[in-house]
Amino acid sequence: MLSVFTYTLRSHRIGLLAVSVGLFVMSLIIVYTFDAFGGLEAFADLFESLPAPMTAMFRAQGGFGTSLTSYIALDYRHPVYIIAGLAFVLSVSGGAAAREIERGTALMLLASPMARWRYLAAKIGVLVVGAVVIVTMSWLGSLAGASLTGLAGDVEGGTLMLAQLNELGVLLAAGGIAVLLSAVSSDGGRTVSVTAGILTVMYFLDFVGAIWGPAEPLAPLSIFYYFDPLAVATNGTTLLRDVVVLFGVGLAGFVAALVLFQRRDITR
Protein backbone atom coordinates (compact mmCIF):
# COMPACT_ATOMS: atom_id res chain seq x y z
CA MET A 1 0.00 0.00 0.00
CA LEU A 2 2.89 2.32 0.82
CA SER A 3 4.43 1.54 -2.58
CA VAL A 4 1.22 2.56 -4.36
CA PHE A 5 1.01 5.73 -2.29
CA THR A 6 4.64 6.62 -2.98
CA TYR A 7 4.40 5.92 -6.68
CA THR A 8 1.12 7.82 -7.07
CA LEU A 9 2.45 10.81 -5.15
CA ARG A 10 5.55 10.77 -7.30
CA SER A 11 3.53 10.65 -10.51
CA HIS A 12 1.45 13.68 -9.42
CA ARG A 13 4.32 15.68 -7.94
CA ILE A 14 4.62 18.10 -10.86
CA GLY A 15 0.91 18.90 -10.85
CA LEU A 16 0.83 19.24 -7.09
CA LEU A 17 3.90 21.46 -7.12
CA ALA A 18 2.44 23.67 -9.86
CA VAL A 19 -0.92 24.12 -8.12
CA SER A 20 0.44 24.64 -4.62
CA VAL A 21 3.22 27.03 -5.67
CA GLY A 22 0.78 28.88 -7.93
CA LEU A 23 -1.72 29.36 -5.12
CA PHE A 24 1.07 30.31 -2.73
CA VAL A 25 2.13 33.07 -5.12
CA MET A 26 -1.45 34.15 -5.70
CA SER A 27 -2.13 34.37 -1.96
CA LEU A 28 1.06 36.36 -1.53
CA ILE A 29 0.23 38.77 -4.33
CA ILE A 30 -3.30 39.38 -3.02
CA VAL A 31 -1.88 40.64 0.26
CA TYR A 32 1.11 42.30 -1.33
CA THR A 33 -1.07 44.46 -3.60
CA PHE A 34 -3.62 45.26 -0.89
CA ASP A 35 -2.30 48.74 -0.18
CA ALA A 36 -1.71 49.50 -3.83
CA PHE A 37 -5.47 49.24 -4.41
CA GLY A 38 -6.17 51.72 -1.59
CA GLY A 39 -6.62 49.44 1.40
CA LEU A 40 -9.79 48.60 3.30
CA GLU A 41 -11.77 51.73 2.50
CA ALA A 42 -11.20 51.48 -1.22
CA PHE A 43 -12.24 47.83 -1.24
CA ALA A 44 -15.33 48.61 0.85
CA ASP A 45 -16.34 51.23 -1.71
CA LEU A 46 -15.62 48.86 -4.54
CA PHE A 47 -17.78 46.11 -3.08
CA GLU A 48 -20.66 48.45 -2.42
CA SER A 49 -20.62 49.47 -6.06
CA LEU A 50 -20.57 45.91 -7.39
CA PRO A 51 -23.79 44.32 -8.66
CA ALA A 52 -25.32 41.62 -6.49
CA PRO A 53 -24.23 38.67 -8.69
CA MET A 54 -20.58 39.71 -8.33
CA THR A 55 -20.71 39.93 -4.57
CA ALA A 56 -22.69 36.69 -4.45
CA MET A 57 -19.83 34.93 -6.19
CA PHE A 58 -17.66 35.80 -3.20
CA ARG A 59 -20.47 35.32 -0.67
CA ALA A 60 -20.01 39.01 0.22
CA GLN A 61 -23.56 40.29 -0.14
CA GLY A 62 -23.31 41.81 3.34
CA GLY A 63 -19.97 43.47 2.70
CA PHE A 64 -16.53 41.99 2.84
CA GLY A 65 -15.80 42.75 6.46
CA THR A 66 -13.63 45.32 8.08
CA SER A 67 -10.26 43.70 8.38
CA LEU A 68 -7.38 42.54 6.28
CA THR A 69 -8.09 39.01 7.49
CA SER A 70 -11.63 39.10 6.11
CA TYR A 71 -10.37 40.58 2.87
CA ILE A 72 -7.90 37.68 2.46
CA ALA A 73 -10.53 35.11 3.45
CA LEU A 74 -12.92 36.59 0.91
CA ASP A 75 -10.36 36.00 -1.83
CA TYR A 76 -10.11 32.31 -0.94
CA ARG A 77 -13.44 32.02 -2.76
CA HIS A 78 -11.90 33.41 -5.91
CA PRO A 79 -12.62 31.02 -8.82
CA VAL A 80 -8.88 30.57 -9.46
CA TYR A 81 -8.45 28.99 -6.01
CA ILE A 82 -11.39 26.71 -6.60
CA ILE A 83 -10.48 25.71 -10.15
CA ALA A 84 -6.79 25.11 -9.37
CA GLY A 85 -7.57 22.96 -6.34
CA LEU A 86 -10.23 20.99 -8.18
CA ALA A 87 -7.92 20.44 -11.16
CA PHE A 88 -5.54 18.54 -8.89
CA VAL A 89 -8.38 16.60 -7.28
CA LEU A 90 -9.82 15.60 -10.67
CA SER A 91 -6.42 14.63 -11.97
CA VAL A 92 -5.73 12.26 -9.06
CA SER A 93 -9.23 10.85 -8.79
CA GLY A 94 -9.69 10.29 -12.53
CA GLY A 95 -6.48 8.24 -12.60
CA ALA A 96 -7.24 6.51 -9.32
CA ALA A 97 -9.18 3.72 -10.98
CA ALA A 98 -11.03 4.55 -14.18
CA ARG A 99 -8.09 5.75 -16.25
CA GLU A 100 -5.89 2.85 -15.13
CA ILE A 101 -8.58 0.35 -16.02
CA GLU A 102 -9.23 2.06 -19.32
CA ARG A 103 -5.56 1.92 -20.29
CA GLY A 104 -5.04 -1.57 -18.89
CA THR A 105 -2.27 -0.41 -16.55
CA ALA A 106 -4.17 -1.60 -13.49
CA LEU A 107 -4.21 -5.29 -14.42
CA MET A 108 -0.63 -6.25 -13.62
CA LEU A 109 -0.69 -4.14 -10.45
CA LEU A 110 -4.00 -5.52 -9.19
CA ALA A 111 -2.67 -9.04 -9.77
CA SER A 112 -0.55 -8.52 -6.65
CA PRO A 113 -1.69 -9.96 -3.32
CA MET A 114 -3.35 -6.80 -2.09
CA ALA A 115 -7.06 -6.17 -1.62
CA ARG A 116 -8.33 -3.81 -4.27
CA TRP A 117 -9.70 -1.40 -1.71
CA ARG A 118 -6.21 -0.95 -0.29
CA TYR A 119 -4.92 -0.02 -3.73
CA LEU A 120 -7.60 2.64 -4.07
CA ALA A 121 -7.11 3.77 -0.48
CA ALA A 122 -3.48 4.56 -1.27
CA LYS A 123 -4.64 6.75 -4.15
CA ILE A 124 -7.16 8.49 -1.91
CA GLY A 125 -4.32 9.06 0.53
CA VAL A 126 -2.44 10.97 -2.16
CA LEU A 127 -5.53 13.04 -2.89
CA VAL A 128 -5.92 13.94 0.78
CA VAL A 129 -2.24 14.74 1.26
CA GLY A 130 -2.24 16.82 -1.92
CA ALA A 131 -5.30 18.77 -0.82
CA VAL A 132 -3.70 19.47 2.55
CA VAL A 133 -0.51 20.67 0.82
CA ILE A 134 -2.52 22.95 -1.48
CA VAL A 135 -4.50 24.67 1.29
CA THR A 136 -1.42 24.90 3.50
CA MET A 137 0.54 26.57 0.73
CA SER A 138 -2.33 29.02 0.10
CA TRP A 139 -2.37 29.86 3.79
CA LEU A 140 1.41 30.24 3.93
CA GLY A 141 1.27 32.50 0.88
CA SER A 142 -1.12 34.81 2.71
CA LEU A 143 1.14 34.91 5.76
CA ALA A 144 4.22 35.47 3.61
CA GLY A 145 2.50 38.35 1.83
CA ALA A 146 1.54 39.91 5.14
CA SER A 147 5.11 39.58 6.41
CA LEU A 148 6.60 41.09 3.26
CA THR A 149 4.34 44.13 3.45
CA GLY A 150 4.73 44.64 7.19
CA LEU A 151 1.07 43.78 7.78
CA ALA A 152 1.65 40.60 9.72
CA GLY A 153 0.22 42.17 12.85
CA ASP A 154 -3.07 42.84 11.03
CA VAL A 155 -3.58 39.27 9.88
CA GLU A 156 -5.11 36.58 12.08
CA GLY A 157 -3.25 33.47 10.95
CA GLY A 158 -5.48 31.12 12.97
CA THR A 159 -8.63 32.51 11.39
CA LEU A 160 -7.17 32.12 7.91
CA MET A 161 -6.21 28.57 8.76
CA LEU A 162 -9.84 27.86 9.61
CA ALA A 163 -10.89 29.45 6.33
CA GLN A 164 -8.48 27.11 4.54
CA LEU A 165 -9.93 24.22 6.53
CA ASN A 166 -13.21 25.15 4.89
CA GLU A 167 -11.48 25.07 1.50
CA LEU A 168 -9.95 21.70 2.35
CA GLY A 169 -13.48 20.47 3.00
CA VAL A 170 -14.52 21.54 -0.51
CA LEU A 171 -11.57 19.75 -2.09
CA LEU A 172 -12.25 16.56 -0.13
CA ALA A 173 -15.98 16.65 -0.88
CA ALA A 174 -15.22 17.09 -4.58
CA GLY A 175 -12.61 14.35 -4.26
CA GLY A 176 -15.14 12.01 -2.68
CA ILE A 177 -17.54 12.51 -5.58
CA ALA A 178 -14.75 12.18 -8.16
CA VAL A 179 -13.20 9.03 -6.64
CA LEU A 180 -16.61 7.42 -6.33
CA LEU A 181 -17.30 7.97 -10.02
CA SER A 182 -13.80 6.78 -10.90
CA ALA A 183 -14.22 3.61 -8.84
CA VAL A 184 -17.25 2.47 -10.81
CA SER A 185 -16.11 3.53 -14.28
CA SER A 186 -13.68 2.17 -16.86
CA ASP A 187 -13.29 5.42 -18.76
CA GLY A 188 -10.99 8.02 -17.23
CA GLY A 189 -11.90 10.82 -19.61
CA ARG A 190 -15.61 10.35 -19.08
CA THR A 191 -15.14 10.20 -15.32
CA VAL A 192 -13.33 13.54 -15.26
CA SER A 193 -15.89 15.13 -17.61
CA VAL A 194 -18.88 13.92 -15.60
CA THR A 195 -17.31 15.01 -12.31
CA ALA A 196 -16.43 18.41 -13.75
CA GLY A 197 -20.02 18.72 -15.00
CA ILE A 198 -21.46 17.84 -11.60
CA LEU A 199 -19.19 20.34 -9.86
CA THR A 200 -20.02 23.06 -12.38
CA VAL A 201 -23.74 22.50 -11.85
CA MET A 202 -23.18 22.62 -8.09
CA TYR A 203 -21.23 25.85 -8.37
CA PHE A 204 -23.99 27.56 -10.32
CA LEU A 205 -26.67 26.08 -8.08
CA ASP A 206 -25.00 27.81 -5.17
CA PHE A 207 -24.51 31.01 -7.15
CA VAL A 208 -28.05 31.17 -8.51
CA GLY A 209 -29.44 30.23 -5.10
CA ALA A 210 -27.70 33.28 -3.66
CA ILE A 211 -29.14 35.77 -6.14
CA TRP A 212 -32.54 34.33 -7.08
CA GLY A 213 -35.06 33.54 -4.39
CA PRO A 214 -36.87 30.60 -6.07
CA ALA A 215 -33.55 28.76 -6.44
CA GLU A 216 -32.50 29.35 -2.86
CA PRO A 217 -33.88 26.03 -1.48
CA LEU A 218 -31.71 24.13 -3.97
CA ALA A 219 -28.46 25.81 -2.95
CA PRO A 220 -27.82 23.47 0.03
CA LEU A 221 -27.51 20.60 -2.47
CA SER A 222 -24.26 22.16 -3.63
CA ILE A 223 -20.99 21.55 -1.81
CA PHE A 224 -20.10 25.19 -2.53
CA TYR A 225 -22.99 26.32 -0.36
CA TYR A 226 -20.89 25.14 2.59
CA PHE A 227 -17.82 27.06 1.48
CA ASP A 228 -17.87 30.48 3.07
CA PRO A 229 -14.40 31.61 4.15
CA LEU A 230 -15.58 35.18 4.62
CA ALA A 231 -18.06 34.03 7.23
CA VAL A 232 -15.24 32.14 8.95
CA ALA A 233 -13.28 35.41 9.18
CA THR A 234 -16.19 37.61 10.21
CA ASN A 235 -18.22 35.49 12.59
CA GLY A 236 -17.37 31.81 12.11
CA THR A 237 -20.90 30.74 12.94
CA THR A 238 -21.36 28.20 10.14
CA LEU A 239 -17.87 26.76 10.09
CA LEU A 240 -18.65 23.68 12.16
CA ARG A 241 -21.72 22.84 10.07
CA ASP A 242 -19.84 23.48 6.82
CA VAL A 243 -16.84 21.40 7.80
CA VAL A 244 -19.02 18.53 9.02
CA VAL A 245 -21.05 18.50 5.80
CA LEU A 246 -18.06 18.80 3.47
CA PHE A 247 -15.86 16.29 5.27
CA GLY A 248 -18.90 14.03 5.58
CA VAL A 249 -19.53 14.14 1.82
CA GLY A 250 -15.86 13.42 1.20
CA LEU A 251 -15.75 10.55 3.65
CA ALA A 252 -18.98 9.04 2.35
CA GLY A 253 -17.65 9.25 -1.22
CA PHE A 254 -14.34 7.64 -0.30
CA VAL A 255 -15.94 4.81 1.68
CA ALA A 256 -18.50 4.11 -1.06
CA ALA A 257 -15.69 4.14 -3.63
CA LEU A 258 -13.64 1.63 -1.64
CA VAL A 259 -16.60 -0.71 -1.23
CA LEU A 260 -17.69 -0.51 -4.87
CA PHE A 261 -14.17 -0.80 -6.27
CA GLN A 262 -13.64 -3.95 -4.23
CA ARG A 263 -16.83 -5.49 -5.65
CA ARG A 264 -16.81 -4.37 -9.26
CA ASP A 265 -15.68 -6.32 -12.31
CA ILE A 266 -12.47 -5.20 -13.98
CA THR A 267 -13.52 -5.68 -17.54
CA ARG A 268 -10.98 -3.83 -19.66
Binding site: S3, V4, Y7, R10, S11, E100, R103, G104, T105, L107, M108, L109, L110, A111, S112, P113, M114, A115, R263, D265, I266, T267, R268
Partner: protein, 309 residues
Protein backbone atom coordinates in the same frame (compact mmCIF):
# COMPACT_ATOMS: atom_id res chain seq x y z
CA UNK B 1 0.73 -34.69 -17.78
CA UNK B 2 2.87 -34.42 -14.73
CA UNK B 3 0.25 -33.73 -12.10
CA UNK B 4 -0.76 -36.21 -9.44
CA UNK B 5 -4.46 -35.62 -9.81
CA UNK B 6 -4.71 -32.57 -7.52
CA UNK B 7 -6.71 -29.83 -9.15
CA UNK B 8 -4.89 -26.50 -9.41
CA UNK B 9 -7.69 -24.75 -11.30
CA UNK B 10 -11.34 -25.66 -11.53
CA UNK B 11 -14.17 -23.85 -13.24
CA UNK B 12 -17.64 -25.34 -12.79
CA UNK B 13 -20.71 -24.18 -14.62
CA UNK B 14 -19.55 -20.56 -14.81
CA UNK B 15 -21.88 -18.10 -16.45
CA UNK B 16 -21.13 -14.43 -17.01
CA UNK B 17 -23.26 -11.84 -18.72
CA UNK B 18 -22.31 -8.27 -19.66
CA UNK B 19 -25.53 -6.45 -20.44
CA UNK B 20 -27.10 -8.28 -23.35
CA UNK B 21 -23.98 -10.28 -24.10
CA UNK B 22 -23.66 -13.69 -22.50
CA UNK B 23 -19.88 -14.02 -22.41
CA UNK B 24 -19.71 -17.38 -20.62
CA UNK B 25 -22.45 -19.99 -20.83
CA UNK B 26 -21.61 -22.68 -18.34
CA UNK B 27 -17.86 -23.10 -18.65
CA UNK B 28 -16.39 -26.23 -17.06
CA UNK B 29 -12.65 -26.78 -16.81
CA UNK B 30 -10.15 -28.46 -14.59
CA UNK B 31 -6.39 -28.22 -14.63
CA UNK B 32 -4.16 -30.43 -12.55
CA UNK B 33 -1.24 -29.23 -10.53
CA UNK B 34 1.99 -29.32 -12.51
CA UNK B 35 0.19 -29.30 -15.84
CA UNK B 36 0.67 -26.99 -18.81
CA UNK B 37 -2.82 -26.34 -20.05
CA UNK B 38 -3.75 -24.50 -23.21
CA UNK B 39 -6.94 -22.53 -23.64
CA UNK B 40 -7.82 -22.05 -27.25
CA UNK B 41 -10.45 -20.01 -28.94
CA UNK B 42 -11.06 -17.29 -31.48
CA UNK B 43 -11.30 -13.65 -30.45
CA UNK B 44 -14.42 -12.98 -28.43
CA UNK B 45 -14.92 -16.63 -27.51
CA UNK B 46 -14.62 -16.07 -23.77
CA UNK B 47 -10.96 -16.82 -23.08
CA UNK B 48 -10.15 -13.54 -21.38
CA UNK B 49 -13.40 -13.51 -19.42
CA UNK B 50 -12.67 -17.01 -18.11
CA UNK B 51 -9.14 -15.95 -17.17
CA UNK B 52 -10.44 -12.87 -15.37
CA UNK B 53 -12.90 -14.99 -13.44
CA UNK B 54 -10.01 -17.23 -12.37
CA UNK B 55 -7.86 -14.26 -11.40
CA UNK B 56 -10.61 -12.57 -9.39
CA UNK B 57 -11.03 -9.57 -11.68
CA UNK B 58 -14.56 -10.63 -12.63
CA UNK B 59 -17.20 -12.25 -10.47
CA UNK B 60 -19.12 -15.10 -12.08
CA UNK B 61 -22.91 -14.72 -12.20
CA UNK B 62 -23.30 -18.45 -11.61
CA UNK B 63 -20.98 -21.35 -10.99
CA UNK B 64 -17.68 -21.57 -9.18
CA UNK B 65 -14.04 -20.99 -9.99
CA UNK B 66 -11.26 -22.17 -7.70
CA UNK B 67 -7.50 -21.77 -7.79
CA UNK B 68 -5.38 -24.03 -5.60
CA UNK B 69 -8.55 -24.96 -3.79
CA UNK B 70 -9.44 -21.36 -2.97
CA UNK B 71 -12.45 -19.50 -4.23
CA UNK B 72 -11.33 -17.23 -7.07
CA UNK B 73 -13.41 -14.20 -6.09
CA UNK B 74 -13.60 -14.42 -2.32
CA UNK B 75 -10.03 -15.53 -1.64
CA UNK B 76 -8.35 -13.62 -4.41
CA UNK B 77 -5.68 -12.01 -2.21
CA UNK B 78 -4.45 -15.39 -0.94
CA UNK B 79 -4.53 -16.74 -4.48
CA UNK B 80 -2.58 -13.82 -5.88
CA UNK B 81 0.21 -14.42 -3.38
CA UNK B 82 0.87 -17.64 -5.30
CA UNK B 83 -0.10 -16.45 -8.76
CA UNK B 84 1.77 -14.99 -11.71
CA UNK B 85 -0.43 -13.21 -14.21
CA UNK B 86 0.11 -11.95 -17.72
CA UNK B 87 -2.91 -9.98 -18.96
CA UNK B 88 -4.06 -9.80 -22.56
CA UNK B 89 -3.42 -6.05 -22.59
CA UNK B 90 0.14 -5.16 -21.68
CA UNK B 91 0.18 -1.52 -20.62
CA UNK B 92 2.33 0.38 -18.18
CA UNK B 93 1.70 3.56 -16.26
CA UNK B 94 3.74 6.42 -17.63
CA UNK B 95 6.99 7.47 -16.06
CA UNK B 96 8.34 4.02 -15.30
CA UNK B 97 11.61 2.70 -16.56
CA UNK B 98 11.61 -1.05 -17.11
CA UNK B 99 13.54 -1.65 -13.90
CA UNK B 100 11.30 0.75 -11.92
CA UNK B 101 8.28 -1.20 -13.07
CA UNK B 102 9.71 -4.57 -12.07
CA UNK B 103 10.73 -3.18 -8.69
CA UNK B 104 7.29 -1.62 -8.21
CA UNK B 105 5.48 -4.86 -8.99
CA UNK B 106 7.84 -6.77 -6.70
CA UNK B 107 7.28 -4.21 -3.93
CA UNK B 108 3.52 -4.82 -4.17
CA UNK B 109 4.37 -8.39 -3.19
CA UNK B 110 6.43 -7.14 -0.29
CA UNK B 111 9.70 -7.88 -2.08
CA UNK B 112 12.47 -5.27 -2.06
CA UNK B 113 15.32 -5.17 -4.51
CA UNK B 114 16.10 -7.28 -7.52
CA UNK B 115 15.12 -10.94 -7.38
CA UNK B 116 17.67 -13.54 -8.51
CA UNK B 117 15.06 -15.10 -10.78
CA UNK B 118 14.44 -11.71 -12.35
CA UNK B 119 18.01 -11.46 -13.61
CA UNK B 120 17.81 -14.92 -15.17
CA UNK B 121 14.52 -14.19 -16.91
CA UNK B 122 15.78 -10.86 -18.21
CA UNK B 123 18.82 -12.53 -19.68
CA UNK B 124 16.90 -15.36 -21.29
CA UNK B 125 14.26 -13.04 -22.74
CA UNK B 126 17.00 -10.68 -23.92
CA UNK B 127 16.06 -7.56 -22.01
CA UNK B 128 19.44 -6.01 -21.22
CA UNK B 129 20.13 -3.42 -18.51
CA UNK B 130 20.26 -0.69 -21.14
CA UNK B 131 16.63 -1.47 -22.04
CA UNK B 132 15.60 -1.58 -18.39
CA UNK B 133 16.98 1.91 -17.85
CA UNK B 134 14.73 3.27 -20.59
CA UNK B 135 11.18 4.51 -20.07
CA UNK B 136 8.65 1.79 -20.87
CA UNK B 137 6.72 4.34 -22.90
CA UNK B 138 9.30 3.88 -25.68
CA UNK B 139 9.24 0.07 -25.65
CA UNK B 140 8.27 -1.90 -28.73
CA UNK B 141 5.36 -4.29 -28.29
CA UNK B 142 7.80 -7.21 -28.12
CA UNK B 143 9.86 -5.57 -25.36
CA UNK B 144 6.72 -4.66 -23.46
CA UNK B 145 5.55 -8.27 -23.65
CA UNK B 146 8.91 -9.53 -22.38
CA UNK B 147 8.83 -7.12 -19.45
CA UNK B 148 5.30 -8.22 -18.62
CA UNK B 149 6.39 -11.86 -18.77
CA UNK B 150 9.23 -11.17 -16.36
CA UNK B 151 6.90 -9.47 -13.86
CA UNK B 152 4.59 -12.48 -14.05
CA UNK B 153 7.33 -15.04 -13.40
CA UNK B 154 10.01 -13.27 -11.35
CA UNK B 155 8.56 -14.46 -8.03
CA UNK B 156 8.33 -18.13 -9.09
CA UNK B 157 4.57 -18.46 -8.73
CA UNK B 158 2.82 -21.77 -8.08
CA UNK B 159 0.26 -20.96 -10.73
CA UNK B 160 0.99 -19.01 -13.88
CA UNK B 161 -1.97 -17.69 -15.85
CA UNK B 162 -1.08 -16.09 -19.15
CA UNK B 163 -3.40 -14.53 -21.69
CA UNK B 164 -1.85 -14.76 -25.16
CA UNK B 165 1.76 -14.99 -23.94
CA UNK B 166 3.34 -15.48 -27.35
CA UNK B 167 1.73 -12.51 -29.04
CA UNK B 168 4.34 -9.99 -30.22
CA UNK B 169 7.22 -12.41 -29.58
CA UNK B 170 9.49 -13.50 -32.41
CA UNK B 171 9.93 -17.26 -33.07
CA UNK B 172 13.19 -17.49 -31.09
CA UNK B 173 11.68 -15.79 -28.09
CA UNK B 174 8.65 -18.07 -28.30
CA UNK B 175 10.94 -21.07 -28.07
CA UNK B 176 12.73 -19.55 -25.08
CA UNK B 177 9.42 -18.79 -23.41
CA UNK B 178 8.27 -22.38 -23.96
CA UNK B 179 11.49 -23.62 -22.37
CA UNK B 180 10.90 -21.35 -19.37
CA UNK B 181 7.33 -22.59 -19.10
CA UNK B 182 8.45 -26.22 -19.18
CA UNK B 183 11.03 -25.53 -16.47
CA UNK B 184 8.34 -23.90 -14.34
CA UNK B 185 6.21 -27.00 -14.82
CA UNK B 186 9.17 -29.21 -13.86
CA UNK B 187 9.45 -27.24 -10.61
CA UNK B 188 5.81 -28.08 -9.91
CA UNK B 189 4.11 -24.93 -11.16
CA UNK B 190 0.82 -25.10 -13.03
CA UNK B 191 0.63 -23.13 -16.26
CA UNK B 192 -2.62 -22.02 -17.86
CA UNK B 193 -2.20 -20.15 -21.12
CA UNK B 194 -4.66 -18.90 -23.64
CA UNK B 195 -3.94 -18.52 -27.31
CA UNK B 196 -5.56 -18.37 -30.67
CA UNK B 197 -2.49 -19.94 -32.28
CA UNK B 198 -2.85 -23.71 -32.33
CA UNK B 199 0.81 -24.39 -33.08
CA UNK B 200 1.92 -22.57 -29.91
CA UNK B 201 -0.41 -24.58 -27.75
CA UNK B 202 0.47 -27.80 -29.55
CA UNK B 203 4.13 -27.26 -28.89
CA UNK B 204 4.06 -26.70 -25.18
CA UNK B 205 0.73 -27.74 -23.70
CA UNK B 206 -0.15 -31.18 -22.44
CA UNK B 207 -3.87 -30.66 -22.57
CA UNK B 208 -6.10 -28.06 -24.12
CA UNK B 209 -9.63 -26.82 -23.94
CA UNK B 210 -11.45 -25.20 -26.81
CA UNK B 211 -13.91 -22.43 -26.15
CA UNK B 212 -16.33 -20.94 -28.57
CA UNK B 213 -19.21 -18.55 -27.94
CA UNK B 214 -18.72 -18.88 -24.20
CA UNK B 215 -18.88 -22.66 -24.17
CA UNK B 216 -16.20 -25.30 -23.91
CA UNK B 217 -16.50 -27.31 -27.08
CA UNK B 218 -13.74 -29.79 -26.39
CA UNK B 219 -11.08 -30.71 -23.87
CA UNK B 220 -8.25 -33.19 -24.04
CA UNK B 221 -4.85 -33.53 -25.64
CA UNK B 222 -4.34 -31.88 -29.00
CA UNK B 223 -4.14 -35.26 -30.69
CA UNK B 224 -7.36 -36.37 -29.03
CA UNK B 225 -9.06 -33.24 -30.24
CA UNK B 226 -7.89 -33.94 -33.74
CA UNK B 227 -9.23 -37.48 -33.80
CA UNK B 228 -11.83 -37.84 -36.46
CA UNK B 229 -11.49 -34.23 -37.56
CA UNK B 230 -10.95 -33.45 -41.22
CA UNK B 231 -7.80 -32.05 -42.74
CA UNK B 232 -8.01 -30.09 -45.92
CA UNK B 233 -6.51 -30.92 -49.27
CA UNK B 234 -6.38 -28.69 -52.31
CA UNK B 235 -6.07 -30.53 -55.60
CA UNK B 236 -5.35 -28.92 -58.97
CA UNK B 237 -6.52 -31.34 -61.67
CA UNK B 238 -5.29 -31.17 -65.25
CA UNK B 239 -8.53 -32.83 -66.16
CA UNK B 240 -11.20 -32.59 -63.49
CA UNK B 241 -13.14 -35.78 -62.70
CA UNK B 242 -16.25 -35.66 -64.83
CA UNK B 243 -18.47 -37.68 -62.56
CA UNK B 244 -17.23 -36.09 -59.36
CA UNK B 245 -15.24 -37.85 -56.63
CA UNK B 246 -16.57 -40.75 -54.69
CA UNK B 247 -13.92 -41.66 -52.14
CA UNK B 248 -14.78 -42.89 -48.64
CA UNK B 249 -13.85 -40.23 -46.02
CA UNK B 250 -13.59 -37.43 -48.57
CA UNK B 251 -15.98 -34.53 -48.88
CA UNK B 252 -15.71 -31.92 -51.61
CA UNK B 253 -15.79 -28.56 -49.91
CA UNK B 254 -15.49 -26.37 -52.98
CA UNK B 255 -14.94 -26.77 -56.69
CA UNK B 256 -13.60 -23.99 -58.88
CA UNK B 257 -12.84 -25.17 -62.38
CA UNK B 258 -9.79 -27.41 -61.99
CA UNK B 259 -9.11 -26.50 -58.31
CA UNK B 260 -10.95 -28.58 -55.77
CA UNK B 261 -10.90 -28.30 -51.99
CA UNK B 262 -11.44 -31.56 -50.15
CA UNK B 263 -12.05 -32.41 -46.52
CA UNK B 264 -10.20 -35.60 -45.65
CA UNK B 265 -11.34 -37.59 -42.65
CA UNK B 266 -10.63 -41.12 -43.87
CA UNK B 267 -7.45 -43.11 -44.42
CA UNK B 268 -5.02 -40.92 -46.36
CA UNK B 269 -3.50 -43.91 -48.20
CA UNK B 270 -6.87 -44.84 -49.60
CA UNK B 271 -7.46 -41.23 -50.64
CA UNK B 272 -4.11 -40.99 -52.41
CA UNK B 273 -4.70 -44.27 -54.26
CA UNK B 274 -8.03 -43.01 -55.54
CA UNK B 275 -6.68 -39.58 -56.49
CA UNK B 276 -3.79 -41.18 -58.38
CA UNK B 277 -6.34 -42.46 -60.90
CA UNK B 278 -6.74 -38.83 -62.09
CA UNK B 279 -4.33 -36.46 -63.86
CA UNK B 280 -3.17 -34.09 -61.11
CA UNK B 281 -1.09 -30.92 -61.67
CA UNK B 282 -0.58 -29.92 -58.03
CA UNK B 283 -1.73 -30.76 -54.56
CA UNK B 284 -1.43 -29.38 -51.01
CA UNK B 285 -2.35 -31.21 -47.83
CA UNK B 286 -2.68 -28.92 -44.83
CA UNK B 287 -2.37 -29.51 -41.15
CA UNK B 288 -5.63 -29.04 -39.43
CA UNK B 289 -6.16 -25.35 -38.86
CA UNK B 290 -7.61 -24.07 -35.62
CA UNK B 291 -10.54 -22.76 -37.59
CA UNK B 292 -11.26 -26.19 -39.06
CA UNK B 293 -10.87 -27.76 -35.67
CA UNK B 294 -13.44 -25.36 -34.29
CA UNK B 295 -15.70 -25.90 -37.24
CA UNK B 296 -15.53 -29.62 -36.59
CA UNK B 297 -16.60 -29.19 -33.00
CA UNK B 298 -19.08 -26.48 -33.77
CA UNK B 299 -20.71 -28.64 -36.38
CA UNK B 300 -21.27 -31.33 -33.80
CA UNK B 301 -23.42 -28.91 -31.92
CA UNK B 302 -21.78 -28.42 -28.59
CA UNK B 303 -19.29 -29.57 -26.03
CA UNK B 304 -17.46 -32.84 -26.18
CA UNK B 305 -15.21 -34.37 -23.58
CA UNK B 306 -12.31 -36.31 -25.02
CA UNK B 307 -10.11 -38.78 -23.27
CA UNK B 308 -6.47 -37.80 -22.97
CA UNK B 309 -4.39 -39.26 -25.74
Amino acid sequence: MSGDGVQALTVSGVHKRFGNVEALRGVDLSVEQGEIFGFLGPNGAGKTTTIRVLTGFIRADQGAARVLGMEAWGETVAIKARLGFLPDVVAFASGFTGQDFLNYVASLRGIRGRLPRQAELLERLELPDSALRRKVKGYSSGMAKKLALVQAMQHDPDVLIMDEPTEALDPLMRQELFAIIREARDRGATVFMSSHVLSDVEEVCERVALIRDGRIVGTGSVEALREGKARTMEVEFRVPPTGGLSIPGVEVLSQEDTRWELAISGDINEVLRELAKHDIADMTYERLSLENLFMGFYGEGGGKELADA
